[in-house]
Symmetry: C2
């Protein structure tokens, strides 16, 4: 799996903890969209992006993330706000088991575009397999 953990710079002191992510430095892309999910019941995700890189950060609470490149899969608990999970394009992602207080912050390198999503698993597997075959 090409997804990987990124340890985020953070400064704990007597005032609390400040965690910082600089565009192109702490993440290997330019930040163009920031979004966060909260009050999540059930699951989120269930899709892949054709071209978008994303960084997932559990800024509060915890949740589970399952990622797949169409061949290999991995599953992680996300509960450390100083560790982000970097997802390259063509990564299928499913987010589950959100605690009631969980907030999932996501940084992405593209603006929103509905056409960039792949929402059908079989289509995703076919695309990722054919992409690997032509490498």
């Amino acid at each position: 799996m090409a997804s990987r953990w990124i340890t985020l710079p953070y400064m704990p002191d007597h005032r609390g903890v400040l965690t910082s992510i600089e565009s192109g430095l702490d993440v290997p892309f330019e930040i163009r969209r920031v979004f966060f999910m909260r009050d999540v019941r059930g699951e989120r995700g269930g899709h892949a992006h054709r071209v978008t890189h994303q960084l997932l950060v559990p800024v509060a609470g915890s949740f589970r993330v399952e990622v797949s490149d169409g061949t290999e899969s991995a599953s992680h608990t996300m509960n450390d706000p100083h560790r982000g999970l970097l997802l390259p394009p063509m990564t299928w992602v499913r987010l589950t088991d959100f605690t009631p207080d969980a907030v999932c912050l996501v940084l992405a390198d593209t603006l929103y575009a509905d056409v960039s999503y792949i929402r059908d698993w079989d289509e995703f597997v076919a695309m990722s397999t054919s992409s690997r075959a032509t490498r």
Copy 2:
């Protein structure tokens, strides 16, 4: 005061709430740095930025923000994750009264640079007054 509220696009559905901020669209600047503060005891801020624009978003819990341009001041409770407070450069900011679960997300249009901070109130008032006098 030139600080102003920005209502953030959000999509509530049966899965929860997703709130999105696109660079240059939902905020009037390019996002170059993202940081968040949590476990805050006491206060944060106590400075102004010479050139940086910032958007403050209470993604969890609540806190108070006091802002001043050196002449006028305002104080707000921040507890709505769909409303961000846009702070132009040369805004003195103080953050207080964080609830234990509070997370303050900040988007900024510059990378971190220690020299861009003004940490002395008297210096800030002198600079902001002279800046207004020359307009």
